[in-house]
């Protein structure tokens, strides 16, 4: 079998095709920021998760430190159990608190971690006990109207 000019063209084609794939992978997309091998999972329970979705970012001080792995409903406590997959490079104290926040006015929801002061750190399958639920607009408006009504009521 001899090398032909055809091989050259096909080789070029394959190389540019793979280069395009690499371009898509590196420049256009981001590899899933946290892969399973060097991460650990912690569970946080919320009364209300609002519009949080799996794969939403977990941020601490604005930096993405992990992603939401799974969301399920606990039928015993009637709470939402959110599994967070955090990067092994980042260790958080045991009394870290988690809150569901919204980026921008209509943006996606993410989980914000606020580090505590404990000397022990969170390990795999630990639970974050201090949580703050998502702000639900209807509740907010309800509270506001209730507050207004209280103000106006004759003493």
């Amino acid at each position: 079998m001899n090398k032909t000019i055809l091989d050259l063209w096909v080789g070029l084609f394959v190389i540019t095709g793979i280069a395009a794939l690499l371009f898509l992978a590196l420049k256009v997309g981001s590899m899933s920021a946290v892969n399973t091998s060097n991460s650990y999972e912690v569970v946080a329970r919320f009364d209300n998760i609002g519009g949080l979705k799996p794969r939403a970012p977990v941020k601490s001080a604005g930096v993405v430190v992990g992603r939401v792995a799974d969301i399920s409903f606990d039928n015993e406590s009637f709470e939402a159990a959110v599994t967070l997959r955090l990067d092994k490079r980042y260790a958080f104290p045991k009394d870290t608190s988690a809150a569901i926040m919204t980026s921008g006015l209509l943006g996606e929801q993410y989980i914000g971690l606020e580090a505590g002061g404990d000397s022990q750190v969170l390990k795999d399958q630990d639970r974050i006990t201090l949580t703050q639920s998502a702000v639900v607009l209807e509740n907010l408006i309800g509270q506001f109207i209730y507050g207004k009504a209280q103000e106006g009521a004759p003493q």
Binding site: D7, V14, T16, L21, L24, K27, V28, G29, S30, S32
Partner: protein, 262 residues
């Protein structure tokens, strides 16, 4: 009269079932006789030149223009919400998830699929396939399988090139022409496009499309009546059937892949 039409209907149904059965057997035979396509990889490379390299121009140019149009149209709509920076997300996601694999597959079907059908149909009409059989050369192994694998290998590469070119076109129009902020364009795109969920699924789609298009094109060519009319009819059928198959498969694959997200 009535009896005649019922007989015709029954006859046609039997013909369709027959054809489907033959197509399945043909496809399995192609897979079984793929050994030659890999042992004598030169054969496959030759076909990759014809169906892949020669499709490059149309794929690259179409990709560029599709990306440019997406950026223009997307900008018009996003502008009304004051979120021009999301242009990168719009262009990249629509190309990587849908337009890249689908439009590249449609172009591939009309550019390479029709050529494959015409070539094999003519080979059959001029009795080259029978001549091969006489010389104890299996035409499926020697002619069909290399073309099949060449198409399956070429299709994802072409789709990736289409998407990359489209994103470049979107960048040209969005950033260079309209003046969307370059940093926001790329960083928002990177935060929204996931490697596994979006890019890998796009590649899987294009592989499936490659299998469907080349299998249909090869079968139509192999099954074509050995006349000028027969070959031209088979070529038309290839383009129509494989385009429809691509769109239908795209719906099924999308329903499977993106059910959980957003």
């Amino acid at each position: 009269m009535l009896r005649q039409s019922i007989e015709n209907l029954g006859n046609r149904t039997i013909q369709v079932v027959w054809r489907i059965g033959f197509a399945t057997r043909f496809f399995l035979a192609t897979l079984l006789h793929s050994g030659t396509a890999f042992r004598r990889f030169g054969l496959t490379i030759r076909e990759m030149y014809f169906s892949g390299v020669l499709s490059l121009i149309i794929i690259l140019v179409s990709g560029l223009f599709v990306g440019m149009v997406l950026a223009l149209q997307g900008y018009e709509t996003l502008q009304t919400y004051g979120s021009e920076e999301a242009l990168g997300i719009l262009v990249a996601l629509s190309l990587v998830r849908e337009l890249g694999p689908v439009v590249a597959a449609l172009l591939f079907a009309s550019r390479a699929g029709s050529a494959i059908t015409a070539e094999i149909g003519l080979m059959k009409a001029t009795e080259q396939l029978s001549a091969m059989e006489m010389m104890a050369v299996d035409p499926i192994a020697r002619v069909v399988a290399p073309r099949f694998w060449a198409g399956v290998i070429s299709m994802p590469l072409l789709a990736a090139l289409f998407s990359a070119m489209g994103i470049f076109g979107g960048y040209l129009v969005g950033v260079q022409l309209i003046g969307v902020d370059e940093g926001a364009f790329w960083s928002q795109m990177q935060s929204a496009v996931d490697f596994e969920q979006d890019i890998l699924n796009g590649v899987i789609k294009s592989v499936v499309f490659g299998v469907a298009i080349t299998a249909i094109a090869l079968f139509e060519g192999y099954d074509a009546p050995p006349t000028a009319e027969g070959v031209s009819g088979a070529t038309t059928r290839t383009v129509v059937t494989s385009s429809l198959a691509v769109l239908a498969l795209d719906f099924v694959l999308t329903a499977f892949m993106f059910r959980g997200i957003s």
